[in-house]
Symmetry: C2
Subunit: 161 residues, 2 copies
DNA sequence: CCGGAACCGTTAGTGCCACAAACGTTTTGT
DNA sequence: ACAAAACGTTTGTGGCACTAACGGTTCCGG
């Protein structure tokens, strides 16, 4: 009978996480984002895509051709990382990368016909994935959730201090 | 006058992000989490801590000493990564790591007096940081936000399929 | 008109995080 | 008694956000 606890500590806290952790917004955010990222990444992988592909294609579709720097600005992807994203897109013939005759520093990126078709597919795939991601929320709650996220993000992107 | 666009394209979309991206929950989540993580990481760094330190210390305080595997379960930190976290905590004398005489596979991790004091400091620091993180939301909205996050996370941790 | 500053795409590399694989040691189940 | 499992540890992987530096090009001020 060396086990001095088992009586008044009914072995409850085996896998339990402290409440202070459970209620931390930062922790909830990062854990949920981990799940969300995995969901999206795996879903897009089945369409031979990564989430950045979608961002670039959507930006091209909605705002027209642009330089890599412009795409970086629109999508938030770093220009360093943009290179390999465009390599992947170009090698799948979803975009065309051509030197800009007016400014020989630049490449002009254009979405192709296949790119447009692929974008429609990805739109559908992502729609389904987000349905799965937000499954437990009612339509009104989803809207509320997006609003809260947007407000928080706007706040922290405009005044980073 | 070779610039053939500037007229009917009033240079609107320079930094603009497509609405489909702006309204993607997964994207909002990961962007906000990036900001949140940076905020927390930098804030904790000023207290010579990382966020995992807090998770481990809080778990020890709330549920008592435990093996590294138990701490992994409580905090969600992988056992591989737990090693270096405990090294850092032990080298700061915030926890004690001793072999378990009853099961020589295990180490028993115990929070120290200094650890308890440090945990109180971190609690305060994190409280301030979360105040900053959630600044744009009213108290009711913060509660709503936490609820939504919790429900989503619970849903995706219980049934991962 | 010329020289430096700024911009462009690109390469390489950093640090953090979630996670997987394998290993020696020790304990457990049958 | 012997295989299976658990434990702590080391090492490695892949993704992401981000920095630094580079050669090439264009812009701008004197």
């Amino acid at each position: 009978m060396t086990r001095s606890e088992a009586v008044d500590t009914p072995d409850d806290g085996v896998l339990k996480t402290p409440d202070r952790l459970r209620r931390q917004a930062s922790r909830l955010l990062s854990q949920l984002t981990t799940r969300s990222d995995r969901l999206i990444t795996e879903g897009l992988a089945q369409a031979d895509a990564r989430k950045w592909h979608y961002a670039v294609l959507a930006s091209l579709q909605d705002f027209g051709p642009g330089s890599q720097a412009a795409l970086s600005g629109r999508t938030g992807i770093y220009r360093s990382d943009m290179v390999s994203v465009l390599n992947e897109l170009a090698e799948r013939d979803l975009v065309e990368r051509a030197p800009d005759p007016d400014d020989r520093r630049r490449n002009v990126i254009t979405i192709s016909r296949r790119g447009r078709r692929h974008l429609r597919l990805l739109d559908k795939v992502l729609d389904d994935l987000h349905h799965e991601l937000l499954a437990p929320l009612s339509p009104a709650e989803r809207e509320e959730f997006l609003q809260l996220l947007t407000r928080l993000l706007d706040h922290h992107t405009s005044q980073p201090s």
